[in-house]
Assembly symmetry: C2
DNA sequence: CTGCATCCTGCGCGATACTG
DNA sequence: CAGTATCGCGCAGGATGCAG
């Protein structure tokens, strides 16, 4: 568990993995868009780590126009399922979590704009 | 999901939560022992955050000898279940993960002692 | 035993610019 | 488009000491 945590318990990995969990391969910038405010450096590092762990696969589509896609592996899918359970839990209970602290300023920072 | 990650995707929270997931309440130092090489400061901070989020409960057993126990709440249990799924996944696939990188030196460093 | 205060460090990660 | 190189910084978290 420690080892797993060392691999995925950072700020972005789970989100990136979720973004890659598509039937189709997903392009670099598409992942970027889906995930949100991630820097290319971090995304690149995260993807390489996921690749090393056999969770996603990198595939060059077209060398001339530089097109690359990432696709979750079957092994990755076995991980994304438990993660999906967690995601659904988060969706059901997120209000409970933010009810207690309010101190989150957010990387998204889209929903708390009402205060002048 | 971002919010959930902000709460639990640090180095220790999930481990601490797992350590608290007992039928009985668990004492501070007992958690420390179960979790491993966590500093009291970090453990304390982690526990307070879990408490704020209603995941664990703090209860003073004895004021004179300073005995405190932490117990997972029913809400916390709903979270520990998905986490348990993840844990089981980790147990089944940890070899796959460490097969790819070998670069983990370990906070526990207890299982690799066989090599002279 | 159960913490809190303090000091200190690494590194995770963001911003930006550059390349093929 | 898909990255890599560089710089800088905030903060998680380790170590240590103290206290009720």
């Amino acid at each position: 568990m420690r080892k797993l945590l060392n691999e995925i318990s950072d700020k972005w990995t789970i989100l990136v993995l979720t973004a890659c969990d598509d039937i189709e391969g997903v392009r670099f910038n598409e992942i970027k868009r889906r995930v949100g405010a991630i820097s290319p450096k971090t995304l690149s590092a995260t993807l390489r780590q996921l690749e090393r762990n056999g969770i996603v696969e990198r595939r060059v589509i077209d060398r001339s126009v530089l097109a690359v896609e990432y696709r979750i592996t079957s092994f990755g899918r076995t991980l994304s399922e438990p993660l999906g359970v967690l995601l659904r839990w988060a969706e059901m209970n997120f209000f409970q979590i933010l009810a207690s602290q309010q101190s989150y300023d957010g990387s998204l920072a889209g929903e708390a704009q009402g205060r002048s």
